[in-house]
């Protein structure tokens, strides 16, 4: 499915300084829907070019990184269990840089 991914707050530096990525992601075999859990793995493997530890900690994003799905805080939609649909927009913003 077609998704748009946006990196901000300095995270774009982990992916060749490209902020907006239009991507095509498949729903994993045997799954009905694509969850944020699957998608984070995909992002880490396909978009993050350096220092993945700045993006992922354990099985989720590093604390201090905000995630929005269609401009809605993922803490409202179930975080890793949030399911994604065609043309969704996922935004990752680091809060850890500078003041």
């Amino acid at each position: 499915m077609q998704l748009t991914v946006e990196f901000g707050g300095g995270l774009e530096l982990l992916c060749d300084s490209v902020k907006i990525h239009n991507v095509n992601v498949n729903v994993p075999n045997g799954a009905e829907k694509l969850t944020m859990r699957d998608f984070l793995t995909w992002v880490r493997q396909n978009l993050i070019k350096e220092r993945p530890e700045m993006f992922i900690k354990g099985d989720t994003v590093r604390p201090g990184i905000l995630v929005l799905v269609n401009d809605c805080d993922w803490e409202l939609s179930g975080q890793l269990e949030t399911t994604l649909e065609e043309k969704d927009v996922v935004v990752f913003i680091s809060t850890l840089h500078g003041g």
């Binding site: 707050g9 530096l13 604390p63 201090g64 401009d71 805080d73 803490e75 649909e85 500078g98 003041g99």
Partner: protein, 355 residues
Amino acid sequence: MDTGEKLRRGGGRLCCICNDRRAALKRPKTLQQICRECFYAVFEEEIHQVIIKNQLFKPGERIAIGASGGKDSTVLAYVLSELNKRYSYGLDLFLLSIDEGITGYRDDSLETVKRNELQYGLPLKIVSYKDLYGWTMDEIVKMIGLKNNCTFCGIFRRQALDRGAALLKVDKVATGHNADDIAETVLLNILRGDIARLSRCTSITTGEDGPIPRCKPFKYTYEKEIVMYAYFKKLDYFSTECIYSPNAYRGFAREFIKDLERIRPRAILDIIKSGEDFRISTSTKMPEQGTCERCGYISSQKWCKACVLLEGLNRGMPKLGIGRTRGMSSDQMKNPKPTGAAKSIESKQCGSLDF
């Protein structure tokens, strides 16, 4: 896909304040789920209340906003200029930026501040290390390498902000330190045993006995909300880590705070509360404040730290003032004041100004 479906999914929940629009974020402070419009309103109103309750400003005052081009100072400049109009504070607001002379970092972030000057209609003053001290950070790093460079930068910045504020003839400097920063500083001061700083790092206003007081209107504002606010309002800010900053020790404290926040967001406010409620035992020796014999800046030693560091640079002995060899004159070595300030300042990390 129609919007109805997205509504149901994106936690189709309604804002718990207006009960009308779709919630856009969860507030770390209250765990409330609120929409964008209500978020703007409560975010701004809370800062207004902090300003009023703590009497941060008086009508007619000239206020410099310490502006780095980063998220905190950009949101502070935006919100303060809004509140100043909305509630008729009667303040003359200025942007004050420090140019440390770091190519590829500060030059870019200063471009952001220059745009902010136009966007918010606030006059901007830039003071540079080169003008004040005769050295840029690029030149300093060329001479001393990547060890201790943050010590130079931090000490020079603190003074530069005061000098810039004096040039602007402002009554006070407002900085963008947020609740996460302050919680982190409380922890760092405990880890360093720095009792002098621990007792004042939670004060919302500091330096009232000095030349120019400083205040932190974001003392109770979560970093998450500042970043969300900047994102939703599409504010123009700069977010790149300084090219010279390893920031390791502060980085650990920061990460620890963020881990705690994930489990229990209130932890940040509670750490600040703990810092505020510490009682410093009266037998603890506190450094005496005097003035630097060379430049007149506040100092607990004969010369202020910036003058010591500068002397080292200019004499080609950049280690002077770093680590244990902190005195420059033999009589000072014989008669060292029992001060925690000079010792602890060596380990200051760069990035933000410590109080």
